[in-house]
């Protein structure tokens, strides 16, 4: 593994009830990179992120950071998975304390993150009463309280209104500008186009990965490129993984 690599999956295989969710997947993300994983539902995006986070044990292959280094990872799962019956402040305080932050440090970071995420005015509201976009921002804030160098985002803007999506992307950009390595699964091609590195995932296989320019060469858009590769992959194994 190169010194500049933050996330590395090498030939990882993961199955559920005999069905291969990931089949010999190779992905490498350089430190500080913003990497987007795009694919249809069931492509294996969530499984890949959970393997990287160490939440799933891979059947074969190797993955980093994985479970042994989960302290380096902030994980923002799909949907809202914080405590709906705790307030915004209480959620931040709880996660800050379990991450081992000192009270003073925690108070400072919470304050900064609330401002950062635009949630300062809503700090006393129950998290369950926030809008979808605010909940996603709160989830992100809780995930980065311990300042992880790697941030995994699992479809963070799915089901979020366009304005909130835009605001959420601002936060991602700031984190990225700060040097955080970000690996984000998404079903939206327009979002993934903002990434430096894109991975096309289809039925547990990596169809292709590279920069947006590399992947779109000869096509008008990333989506077209994905569709073309997908149909080639389904037409026959000889055409699959053309760009790999």
């Amino acid at each position: 593994m190169s010194v500049d690599v933050a996330v590395e999956a090498r030939a990882i295989v993961k199955s559920f009830a005999g069905m291969r969710a990931l089949d010999t997947v190779d992905v490498e993300v350089t430190k500080g990179e913003l990497c987007g994983i795009v694919g249809a539902d069931g492509a294996g995006k969530t499984t890949l992120l959970r393997c990287v986070a160490g939440l799933y044990r891979v059947e074969s292959g190797s993955v980093l950071p994985g479970r042994g280094r989960r302290n380096q990872v902030g994980f923002c799962p799909q949907g809202f998975h914080l405590y709906a019956d705790l307030t915004v402040d209480e959620n931040l305080e709880f996660f800050g304390l379990v991450y081992g932050l000192e009270k003073r440090t925690l108070a400072q970071r919470s304050e900064e993150l609330l401002r950062f995420a635009g949630l300062a005015e809503h700090r006393s509201r129950l998290a369950g009463n926030l809008s979808g976009g605010m909940q996603q921002k709160l989830t992100l804030a809780c995930s980065v309280l311990h300042r992880p160098p790697i941030l995994l985002l699992d479809e963070p803007t799915t089901g979020v209104d366009p304005l909130s999506r835009r605001e959420f992307w601002h936060l991602i950009e700031v984190l990225h500008a700060d040097g955080t390595t970000i690996m984000m699964a998404s079903a939206y091609f327009d979002e993934v186009e903002r990434c430096e590195h894109v991975v096309f995932l289809h039925e547990g296989h990596v169809l292709a990965d590279g920069s947006v320019d590399e992947l779109t060469s000869g096509n008008n858009s990333l989506e077209e490129a994905f569709r073309q590769l997908m149909s080639e992959s389904e037409a026959g194994p000889s055409n699959a993984e053309v760009t790999k």
């Binding site: 705790l86 304390l97 081992g100 903002r194 790999k244």
Partner: protein, 413 residues
């Protein structure tokens, strides 16, 4: 991936850049370049910075610090208390259900059966009527069945439970008892034996100790304390953990440095406190409503309840390692609790349990807490007599908590 190379990021708009710049200015600068980092915090920050240049470990394999264990435990416990305080429906159920059970068990359950409906068959006999009606064991119908077949019909229809066939001499010749309800039948036989045998047996001075009037409440209320703590504690803990799994918060917790034992204890402590409060309320109500005597030291009762509660709550945690949702948790808990209540001696004597399954009783915490509770309530015993049961409960608390910790998964698969 040969084709992959670094590529310029999508250029943000001017508005985005200005916002980012504003945010970066608001935040304190660091070596990492910007956002949110206070240099003073670096010592306490557990996550290593990017930029490690060791080829063997480009991202240093730092483990979570164990020094914050107490703080993490306190955080979980505090969170549970806040959630409990806001979940009024659950708290109402946790407090209300024991009260209803107390009243049902205390008032509703009688170990002795009275007013068993009986009728005379063939001939009337005032002497037998008086003998049967004494102490209200039987309620004798004023009518007399004409024949044995008519009496059998009454038994079959459930109009009567006992039929005494009286001969022409006025003496009973035989008795028919409805055996479909074994409990009523057994009581009927016991009463009838005492009546028919009374003339043949020499009077004996019988003295009943600790519960001289054989009141059911004196027997039931001390058992109820254990049963209710078991039920409330086990269900609440199992549901508490499974709800975390269902809501996805467990997934978030798995990404934090929380250790399994911290999570287990963090769940056990608040529910233990609440269940102990409920136990105290039940005890006080038992004393006030049913005048059950508490001859021993109530503090000892409370103290001995702690290892029992930890065992019971750990069983709830074990259930949560199996159940994937709250419905499964409820079903599994019921499956585990019912045998406990039936086989622990809380309702039925242990001696009545066949040897083949009595070993199961020895594995149940309630088997050891029931005699503790009864003996403190009725006999006034203390630690010097009850230490063997207390020791077993302490052992069970350690074993069940360890098992729950071992079986608790820290991964999603």
């Amino acid at each position: 991936m040969g084709a992959r190379s670094r590529h310029a990021r999508v250029v943000p708009t001017i508005k985005e850049i200005s916002l980012i710049a504003e945010l970066c200015v608001q935040c304190r600068p660091t070596k990492r370049g910007g956002y949110l980092v206070d240099p003073k915090d670096e010592k306490s920050a557990q996550a290593p910075k990017t930029g490690s240049k060791s080829a063997a470990a480009p991202l240093a394999d730092t483990r979570w610090s164990s020094s914050g264990s107490g703080r993490r435990l306190a955080a979980i416990t505090r969170k549970e208390f806040i959630q409990l305080a806001r979940d009024r429906r659950t708290v109402a159920l946790m407090v209300g259900m024991p009260l209803v059970l107390l009243i049902i068990f205390g008032y509703g359950i009688r170990l002795s059966v009275g007013n068993i409906v009986a009728e005379l068959v063939g001939h009337d006999s005032p002497a037998i009527r008086v003998a049967l009606g004494e102490q209200n064991h039987f309620k004798v119908l004023p009518t007399v069945a004409k024949s044995e077949s008519a009496a059998r019909k009454d038994l079959l229809d459930g109009r009567t439970s006992v039929a005494v066939i009286v001969g022409a001499t006025g003496l009973p010749s035989s008795v028919l008892v409805d055996g479909s309800n074994a409990f009523v039948a057994q009581n009927s036989l016991d009463y009838l034996r005492s009546l028919t045998g009374s003339s043949a047996v020499q009077p004996v001075n019988v003295q009943v100790l600790y519960n001289p009037t054989l009141r059911s409440a004196d027997f039931m209320v001390p058992s109820e304390v254990g049963m209710i703590m078991l039920w409330v504690g086990t269900v609440a803990t199992a549901i508490g953990v499974v709800r975390e799994r269902e809501q996805g918060t467990l997934e978030q917790l798995m990404m934090t440095p929380i250790r399994k034992l911290e999570l287990m204890l963090g769940k056990i402590l608040p529910y233990s406190a609440l269940t102990l409060v409920i136990a105290v309320v039940i005890t006080i109500l038992g004393l006030l409503l049913f005048q059950v005597p508490l001859r021993g030291n109530p503090l000892e009762l409370l103290l001995f309840a702690v290892p029992y509660l930890v065992s019971a709550l750990s069983i709830g945690l074990l259930v949560s390692t199996i159940a994937q949702n709250q419905r499964q948790a409820m079903q599994t808990t019921t499956f585990i609790l019912l045998p406990q209540i039936l086989l622990s001696g809380a309702l039925f004597p242990l001696a009545a349990i066949p040897w083949g399954i009595r070993w199961v009783s020895q594995l149940l915490p309630l088997t050891y807490f029931t005699p503790i509770s009864r003996d403190i309530f009725l006999k006034g015993l203390g630690f010097s007599e009850l230490w063997p049961q207390v020791a077993v409960l302490c052992g069970m608390a350690v074993i069940f908590t360890s098992l729950a910790t071992i079986f608790f998964k820290t991964r999603l698969d």
